[in-house]
Structure formats: structure tokens, C-alpha cells
Amino acid sequence: MTIALQTAAAVLLVGAVLAAVHVPLGTWMHRVFTDDSDWRVERAVYRVVGVDPRTEQRWTGYAGSVLAFAVASVALLFVLITVQGWLPWNLGRTMDWDTALNTAVSFTTNTNWQSYAGEAGTGHTVQMLGLTTQNFVSAATGLAVAVALLRGLARAHADRLGNFWVDLTRSTVRVLLPLAAVGAVLLLLGGVIQNLAAPHTIETLTGTQQVIQGGPVASQEAIKELGTNGGGFFNANSAHPFENPGPWTNLLEIVLILVIPFSLPYTYGLMVRDRRQGAVAAGVMGFLLVGSIALAAWAEAHAAAGPFGSMEGKEQRFGIVWSSVFAGATTGTSTGAVNSMHDSYSALGGGVPLVNMLLGELSPGGVGTGLYSYLVVVVLAVFIAGLMVGRTPELLGKTIGRTEITSAALVTLTMPALVLLGTGLSVVLPVSLDARLNDGPHGLSELMYAVASASNNNGSAFAGLSADQPYLNLLLAACMFVGRFVPIILVLRLAGSLAAQGKRPVTAGTMPTHTPLFTTLVVGTVLIVAGLTFFPSLALGPIAEALS
């Protein structure tokens, strides 16, 4: 089979699985977030936390809870990593304070950028208590914020958006834990390890020495992909045979990455009582994702004719096609797990994951974050369309007024500001210039990829960059925190303002937001905003490298 046919078959296979799963899962999530009763374990959580699950919050209170939870998470994870020397199963592993802070922010913000190597920085206790837990709750936070925005769109004359603690708990208990448990058992059966063994050295058949690692990998791997987190148990991430032993586990991991982001549009359609809106969302996301996968596979196949055959940084069991599909899935969502080394991709092949991130993580984006990032672009598109035809811009019967459009515009500006300022600062400072492994345009791509990855809460890397140094650790931690929580606050402000409005009736003058024309407008808005913002930098990085 040619690369083109294999890629088409791969995309169809993944697409078929998602098509089969998105309706039941999307329906389930709708029920989870509209249910009036609580599960017993949830009531226990509410009792401990001391909240009344029937009391809802204004957008400010909701945002306050999100922020408080983030601050508590960063603090507790930082302390846990710092004291890991006194904990059981620490395996003698440690981190410097700046690495620990970077890691704490990274896992709390659902980024999972790793400036440490898993085999060297974290013992089993930190992996389970700290990192696995944050993989769950950071994804649950994203889901909660997305649901709050959906309530804002669905409700009329309301001043409340729900209760963050309820949404957080239900996301964890009813959505993430059951799916992760199924995923972990399947991965375990597929060969992903799950034990508490310390590394031990063996003598091989041929008389050489090798260290065999252990660890509770399957449990973490499942939620790492499902929660679009991406932080590897091992340094090689999902390329490590203990994290991803074969073609079936690889397929399962790709599906786990995409399943919630592609099911949420269905939930969206149910929440706003118009399933066509969800179909448009899934269509835009799918179009961008398939396009990026096709482009990456084409670029890598093209490079395969070159002297090195483009297998540098790829695994034999995955090959070009399934490395490209994984690369598209992991950067189209804000996951950042890798099963091949993006730094070794051809200029254009490596440019695709970078562009995927720079689009703002909505193809289909992370758990929750993808949907709210998409809806922000929809607000922009509606506004632009309204200006063009001279009508009041409306979305689902809500007027896009001053509060709405300023919130959406600020969300859209946050990430580019971080990426361009952070990359600009890093290319003039010797401390970060020296961290590059590759020179020339590829070196610029390395730095830009790092800042883009942090600011978009993706976490994948052009891993040649020696990022474990105080300047980059702190810069990227700041990018991760601001890149996550400024948009969240603005999205909740948007939600609050939408909820407060009444619903305008649909008239002949209403612009429909479910037509192919509008879908094209949304895709255009995504591409034009990213293109205008980042084309000059991309021209100096991947494009210059491809042309040289």
C-alpha cells in the first residue's frame, strides 16, 4: 500500500471508531452535567469539601473556585515533588526547585511539558499521587469550564453558571475515571506495564547489560491520553515500548486522545437543543485535523525519498503513517504525548504540529478547552459576519455585544502575545540560545515550538532543546499559567454575560450558524487569524528550512 492509501485507511479507521462512540459518550456527558441527583461517592466528596451541590455560582465565583483549585494544585504538587526523597518508592529520584515548579505548573495546567526525564525525575509515588491525579483533575477543570460556557449559551435571564466543585467532581467520577479504567485495562492487556518494581539491571542474551524500568504505567498512560495531558511516564513518552508496545495500543491511545474532544460537540448540540450546532463544531475540528494529518504524512513520505529515509526518531512498529496520525492527534488536541520525535521530522512535517498548536488548540483541542476555544472563534466569526452584512451579530439567540466580543478578542490575543513575546525574548538571550540542539531555522523552530507548546498547554516538544534550566523553566511555567487561566477567566466572563441575556427569537433576519457557509467562515477565521499572527515567524522557521 502506498503512504497515501495507508494514511486514508488510518484516518477512516480512527474516524469510524469516533463516529461510533461520540453519540453515546456525548449523550452521557450531557446527562452527567444536567443530572439533579448525586452519586454516593460524590456526596462524600461534597461533604469533605463543605459545599452544597445544589448551590450554583455566578461567573466570578466559578472563576474564583477554578483559580483556587489551580493554586492549591500547584502548591501541593510542588511540595510533593520537593519532599519525594522521604516518600516510599522514590527510587532516589529528585528535581531541582525550578524544575519542580515548572512540573507543578505544567501538570496543573493540563500542559504536561516535561523538562525532566521521567526515568530520572520522578519516583512511583509522585507519578501516582501527584501526576496521575493532576492528569484527572486538570482535564476535569477544562471540562467544567466548557460546560459552564454551554450553560451560558443555553440559559436565559440567569445569573448562575453551575457549581465548579460539582462539575469538577462529576467530570472526574462519571466521565474520566470509568473511561480511564477501561483504557488502562486494555492497555495493560496490550502490554503496557503496571507494577511497582524498581529499575533492575540484567545481562542480555548477547552478553551486554541493560536496565529494565518498572512503574505503574498503564494507569497513568490511559488518563494521560484520555485527559489530553500527554506527560510521559518515561522520557521517550508514547514512543517507549513500555508505554506503547504495538500497533493496537497505538490505535487505542490515538482514540483515547480524540474521544472526549470529538464527543463534546454532540454534548454541545444537546445542551443548546440544536444538534446541528454540534455537527458544525465536529466538522470544523475534523476538517482541520484530517488536513494536518494528511499534510504531515505527505511531508514525511516525501522526505522518505531523502538520504535518511525519514525513520530518524520514529519506531519501526509505527512507521511514517501512524507516527503522523499520532502527531496530528496529539497537537490537534492539547495532548503533547509523542510516539515519534517531532524534532527529527522534515521541515514541513515538523511544521504541521507547530501550526496545529498555533491555530489555538481547537482541532479538536483538549478536553473542554477545545470546545471553549472553538466557541470563542465562533463568537468572532459571528461578529465579523455581522459587521459584513450590517446586522446585529447573534449566536443562538444571544447578542454578541461589548462584553462578549472583548472577552473573545482578549482570549484570541493571549496566546499569540505569549508566543511572540516569549520566543522573541528567547532568541535574544544567550541562556536560551545555547539551549538549542540544532542551528539555523530549525533552531528557531525549536524555541518557538517550546513557547507555543507551553502557551497552548500542549506539552509536546522539539525535544532537542535543553529546557531544564532556570530561565526556560520559569519562562515556560509563566506561559503555561497565563496561557491557561487568563482565557479561562475570560471564557467564564463571556459565559456569565451570555447567561444574563434573554433569548431573541429567530427571525428572517437571523444569520444561521449551522450552514456550510458559516462552517467555511469559521474555518477561515481560524486560519486567517493564525496566519496573520504567525506567518512571519513560520517563514523564518519551518518554511525557511524547507526552502533551503
Binding site: A10, V41, V45, V48, V49, G50, S65, L67, A68, V71, L76, A117, M128, L129, T132, T133, F136, L168, V173, L177, V185, L188, G190, G191, Q194, N195, T204, L205, T206, Q209, Q210, P216, A218, F234, N235, A236, A239, P245, G246, G306, F308, G309, M311, E312, G313, K314, E315, Q316, R317, G319, W322, N339, M341, D343, S344, A347, L437, N438, D439, G464
Partner: protein
Amino acid sequence: MTTTRQLGAALKALLVLTVLCGVLYPAAILAVGLVVPDRANGQPVVVGGREVGSALLGQPPSGPEWFQGRPSASDSSGDVSGGSNYGPSNPDLAADVAEREKALRAANPDAPQQIPADALTTSASGLDPDVSPEYARWQVARVAAARGLEQTRVLRLVDQHVREAPLGFLGQDRVNVLELNVALAGLTRG
């Protein structure tokens, strides 16, 4: 809620969710692992009562009488995994590939002219357990000569160990080097 109350609620929520997600969940999967110990422990390969490796991990390079895995940025040591991260335009990559090509030619004088790509490039993990069927066959002449075996016998062994990609397109065809070498050791004795 005031800031203090929010922070207090956050800390309590985090602690109770840690019990669920960070203790009970991994413990449950560990318990499932006890039912399938071979899988849970990385499929150790035992020869003569001694653990000689994992079926999932590529091993460090060794003598000419053994099949070799792919080049590794970490020499398959197993203590830290990862790739070279060299971009395609990096002169160090070209130099490394040229050096590998020279070494392969010197060690395999009777092998075909065309060296398979996976023989010249480092894997993503540094622990790739597999090579392409082409690279395994490419090594047959050397291995057979070093062991004083007929090439056809060794070639047949390689062909028996080719694992085809499921569904024809899920991944690539591959040969697990450690399993091939274990079978090869048996062939010599027999």
C-alpha cells in the same frame, strides 16, 4: 465565598480526589496486573532460568553472530530513553549516518548494496525492539558466516519471525530482534 474559604475547599477537594485518582485507581489497575503478571512486568524473556531481556525492548549492540537492532541515541542502555532529536538539516545527523553506513559495510561485506533506512537511523525511544524484515534479511549473510550456518536456514528463521502489520496497514511489518536471537541460539545448538 471568600478567598480563604475557596482555598480551603480547593485543598480539601484536591486531597479527596487524590485518594480516588492517585491511590484507588492505580491500585485497582495494579490488582488487575496481578492476574496478567507477564504483561504487567514487561514480558520478560527467560532463557535457561535467567532473565535475558524484555520482549518489548531493543538491546545494546553486540557481536557479529547476533542480529542487531536499530541504532539508539542511548545505546539501548535502558536507564534513559529518547531519540537523537537531530533535525534533518543537522550536519551531525548526516555525519552519524555516514559513520553508521561505513561501519555496516565493514561488518557486512557480503550484504546487498542498499542498506535499509531503519538500519541507519536512531529510533524515537532508543529502545525499538524491532527492525524491518528487510534489515533482518540484510544481516543474514553476516550472521550465517559468523555461526558457520547455511544462509537458507537463517533466512528461513527470519521469515518465520516476520510479524505482519495487523489489517495490512496498522503499523509496519517488523521482526523482533530478541525473539529472533533466542531462536537463533536454539538453531546453533540443534
